[in-house]
């Protein structure tokens, strides 16, 4: 029982950045913009969180800082892709490299250290009294970061906007038929800019989870592929908010399993490979039926 609880608890902890990263992919790509830069935006967010917390002494200010920087990055990303018509995947690669480089440079400039920053004020975990005693589900309420609940709220919020508002309907239509939607008088690019800023802000938030909630410092390249993992989860989940949540959980299970497989014969790398292999197999077997947004990468004037 104890081991199941610990396993669940760890899985939930590891799921937050992956699910949020997947959601960034969903938000951007349902509107037709390819977002390979989640990884970099997340890293920028992680750094901004620590820098903000360091300079103000307040972890919440750090979080706010990372959301703002993430949003700014999302806006710049949109500017490059939509206004300057850059190759969208290439912009993603550029942003990821940029984030990796600039955070290390600024780390050295601020703290005169290589590798990791000084420790800063962080967001404490919470335990809900009573609820935490429930068997199995209690893991949800025991020693978890407030980010976990925020994550569920954001997934729900995106789902509501996507499927229960006219803006969501229009936005999803943009991802499939941008020219038709534009002809109908919808300002396609304004929708896309807004979505990219939102995606960037969520990526920034996800980054701050790693740096000021799970940890209390910044480590060079601390996102360690979680952004890409999120993108994979987004595809695995069929470009849908709830699908992203579920797929993100699957990736998190594979990640946390490696801490529990040390006694067994199965090597952890093989377990970590599984979600990627499964995603590939899904693309292979469902083939043409699993469809992302049809107009991925298409621009309008």
């Amino acid at each position: 029982m104890e081991i199941i609880n610990n396993f669940l608890s760890l899985t939930l902890q590891l799921s937050v950045p992956i699910v949020l990263g997947a959601l960034c992919g969903t938000i951007a790509e349902r509107g037709g913009v390819i977002l390979l830069g989640v990884e970099g935006m997340m890293l920028l967010g992680a750094f901004a969180g620590v820098a903000g917390s360091f300079f103000t002494g307040n972890a919440l200010a750090g979080v706010l800082f990372s959301i703002l920087l993430g949003g700014l990055a999302g806006w710049l990303y949109a500017l490059f892709c939509l206004k300057w018509k850059a190759h969208q995947s290439v912009v993603g690669v550029g942003v990821n490299l940029f984030a990796s480089g600039i955070t290390a440079v600024m780390l050295k400039a601020i703290w005169q250290k290589e590798g990791m920053s000084e420790t800063v004020a962080s967001i404490p975990n919470i335990t809900v009294p009573g609820l935490s005693r429930i068997p199995v589900l209690g893991a949800l309420f025991r020693d978890q970061s407030p980010y976990l609940y925020l994550m569920f709220l954001i997934v729900g919020g995106v789902w509501l906007v996507f499927y229960r508002t006219k803006y969501g309907l229009r936005y999803r239509a943009i991802g499939d038929q941008p020219y038709a939607v534009q002809t109908a008088g919808v300002p396609v690019n304004r929708y896309r800019y807004t979505a990219m800023i939102a995606a960037g802000a969520i990526a920034g938030l996800a980054g701050s989870y790693l740096s000021v909630s799970q940890n209390n410092l910044f480590v060079v390249d601390m996102t360690a592929g979680r952004g890409f993992m999120g993108l994979a989860a987004n595809i695995f989940g069929g470009w849908q908010p709830v699908g992203s949540l579920a797929a993100g959980m699957v990736f998190a299970v594979a990640q946390s399993a490696r801490f529990y497989l040390t006694d067994l014969e199965i090597p952890s790398q093989i377990v970590q490979m599984l979600p990627y292999v499964v995603t590939l197999l899904i693309l292979l077997f469902v083939g043409k039926k699993v469809k992302g947004p049809e107009a991925l990468g298409k621009l309008v004037n």
């Binding site: 550029g94 400039a109 993108l231 090597p267």
Partner: protein, 345 residues
Amino acid sequence: MKNPKNISELVKSLAAILLALVIGACFILISGESPLIAYGALIEGALGSPQALANTVSKSIPLAFTGLAVALGSRCGMLNIGAEGQLHAGAMASVLFALWFSFLPAPLLLAVSITAGIGAGMLVGCVPGIFKAKFNTSEVIVAIMLNYICTLFTSWLVNGPYKVEGSTAQTELIPESIWFGRLLPRTQLTYALLLLILTAVLMYIFLWKTSAGFKLRAVGANPNASRTAGIKVNMYLITSMLLSGGIAALAGVTEVFGKYHRFIEGFSPSFGFTGIAVAILGRNHPAGVMLTAFLFGIMDMGSLRMSRETMVSTNMVTVVQSLVILFVAAPELIKWQKQSRAKQH
């Protein structure tokens, strides 16, 4: 470079590099250092002596291989973002074959190992091509999955069955008889350079002097028109990724045979992703790619000296390189003022 289009491309590339260096200088100023001293140390460190120059060339070799790989894919309209996985697969396969067949005479062993490396890269490389051809799945998505699968799989091999005693995750040394010889003593410059030049020349001949190369480029320029003209588009999509994967694998193989003589976990500081920058800045042309790789090699090599003499992190180079990618990738960035004015009329 007689063509005016080529000249304007060159000017745009130079403008992008200059802009990136200027922004880099701003970040150096923020760090409280002088950009002139920092960049001076960088140049001195990279080109200051024959040894430094040789090591700079050696540092640019893997970047040139991944750059050529990405360029070849791009010529067919395929963005090969999977070079990182392909070079891991290639390096591991070549090492394993060198260890398994170490009883063979050296020339044969060398040929077998390098072929195995290239083969592994091709195998991994062709998968995104097949997905694209059969299911129209984005080659980028499939390649990203394969990057993780390859790095995790090789990580398992080097941490598990093929790990040598000790704390580092590395395999046994390959037989010394097949190590690449040094071109200059006391430097890291090896025969890998000759292999690189050979690859670049072959790629140029293939793309511009054969009909298969012409068709491959036609598919990249306009797949629909090519299909109408009777070109087997799907076959070329797969072929381009197959060849691209093979070239990317050579980045890993040459690092192994020239520098480490074994597979070490994490030997590639994302050569695959930097290769995308190299290919874009080099305009997907073998000569341009070689030149850009050398430029990036200067930055990588010189940054070591720069970080010793100033408080600027070696990662400053990554920042400049990433800015170059962004500026070159955005064709409208340099002329967007004019564009937006034209639109108002």
